[in-house]
Symmetry: C2
């Protein structure tokens, strides 16, 4: 069975671990979000790709969900001693090595997809990990500008990481702008994997800045919609709140309520065939099905690999139901 998964960072990575456990013989291609990539200290950092790679490769900091296990912070300390920022993005020494290798390869002319493949040769994640695009796409967030003068612009766009990590999404987001997405091309293999998939999954990743950004790469949304195979999603919203992260903040920016049903409708029946909501949101099943999307209520808390594997099995079961 060929499974394509559109994945963001922590939620996507943890879901994938469950999926691998639930479908050990499946051929899994992950299309990873690169919209939250950022250049720090002259190095190219790809947080979502790395989270997937480290999680599936056994190198992740388990409790934190991102970054490396057994991490040290000598480089970061030194950069601070030089007065070189930003200081709000926590890069550890082991993690730095990944960014150094990536930046060196990109400088030598390799596209991000080839670099990702080279990094995965070490990590052996057990899936084929593709960036959504080799082109630079950078998610920016439009926020109020606290420093705006009377004559200045009242709003400014900041990098997603600045909004998310530095500001903790604590200020209103007026718009989410995937800068460069319109000009981006899907990375080699992305459209082919979607066209050849038996099932396509949207894990409980952020529907706006993770899966939404992947779908914003021209050709990807169309390929998913026209693949002719079941497309099944899992709600990242449980009981009207994100399971983790601050998805409600960016959902508000695109005018979507933070409910399991609203997120399903946001994707729409043109894209989604099936949707899993948590058992606490069982009341949403009817609304989702009214929107033309088959829906089931099952436990959606990724408390451990076994629980996550059960979620993945439910998603695959729903896919079979859709197919039949």
């Amino acid at each position: 069975m060929r499974i394509v998964v559109l994945a963001g960072g922590i939620g996507g990575a943890r879901f994938l671990r469950g999926l691998k456990s639930a479908a050990p013989d499946a051929d899994i291609t992950v299309i990873g979000n690169t919209g939250d990539d950022i250049h720090l200290f002259g190095l190219k950092v790809c947080p979502d790709l790395d989270t997937v790679m480290y999680t599936l490769g056994g190198g992740i900091h388990e409790e934190q969900g991102w970054g490396r296990a057994d991490e040290s912070f000598a480089v970061k300390e030194e950069l601070a001693a030089y007065g070189v920022g930003p200081d709000w993005f926590g890069l550890g020494d082991r993690d730095f090595a990944t960014h150094i290798v990536r930046t060196q390869m990109i400088g030598a002319g390799y596209p991000l997809s080839a670099v990702t493949e080279a990094l995965c040769a070490r990590w052996q994640p057990g899936v084929r990990l593709l960036p959504m695009s080799d082109d630079r796409v950078e998610t920016h967030v439009l926020i109020d500008d606290p420093e705006a003068g009377a004559d200045g612009p009242a709003r400014k766009a900041v990098h997603f990481q600045e909004y998310w990590v530095r500001l903790h999404a604590s200020v209103p987001a007026h718009a989410i702008i995937p800068v460069g997405a319109e000009q981006a091309k899907p990375a080699p293999g992305v459209l082919e994997a979607i066209a050849e998939a038996d099932v396509i999954l949207f894990p409980p990743s952020n529907p706006v800045v993770s899966i939404g950004t992947i779908l914003a790469v021209p050709g990807v949304r169309e390929a998913v919609a026209e693949a002719g195979v079941p497309v099944i999603g899992l709600s990242p919203i449980v009981g009207d709140a994100p399971v983790r992260g601050m998805a409600d903040k960016v959902l508000a920016a695109v005018g979507v309520e933070s409910t399991a049903a609203a997120v399903a409708r946001h994707y729409g029946s043109g894209l989604l065939d099936g949707w899993l909501v948590d058992t606490v949101d069982a009341g949403a099943v009817e609304q989702v099905e009214a929107a033309g999307i088959r829906c089931r209520a099952v436990p959606l808390m990724m408390t451990d690999v076994a629980a996550t594997a059960r979620m993945a099995s439910e998603a695959l079961a729903l896919a079979e139901e859709v197919r039949a």
Copy 2:
């Protein structure tokens, strides 16, 4: 008193620490060798500038003489795990931060001299540290090519660091080539500092690949020769062997014997006014003076800062003798 010092790495840095102790009120400008700079992992590494900066700024690994104290090697371990080399150049985590800052600033358009000044703003070395040039000069060493076929070239040029660090200077060096030196310009401030100096010192640095490379930057040798102030050197050769390092190997490549007298004659009376040899080489004094260079035999082992300060005092005393 304005003192200009042409310095390589460990020997130059340790001498400078003694000089600062001997002449605490002097205005010291260091013209640092950049011929052994190397790009590693996409980062620009300046071993000699950093050794001076770390030594005078209190961050050096004392026993080793280069690199940082309290160093860790997580980045290096990870690079090895990725299979990314070279593995023979020992960069620690704290050291990596320096190269990351430097590379980022150079990428942003700053010349090496401005970058060095910015790094020194943290380290406060107590001297003005200038790279010999903002232009790229890279010392290569011509060696026998062990992989040469019958029809291939029998010799090949390798980067100085490969010869020095990877090969431990264990193969014959047929020539030392400062690639790019002919096109290089002295960095801003270099010629001015030489012209305004009261005394110019050659510490016991490598006469070929450290001081020789600095002098190979067009205009520097002429400026030193024409400064009209005492130019005093300290022999890096004691008892016919280098005090440290493998200077004899590269001296052989330029046809100079490994003796204190031969090195003085290599610089020549057109450049040098005074030369200090170690007391074990007292027999060389007469030969050096016969070459038109005033010479004294004094202890030249930099066993600690006090001993090194005495060497610096002897050099300054010889300068006064020359001047008088």
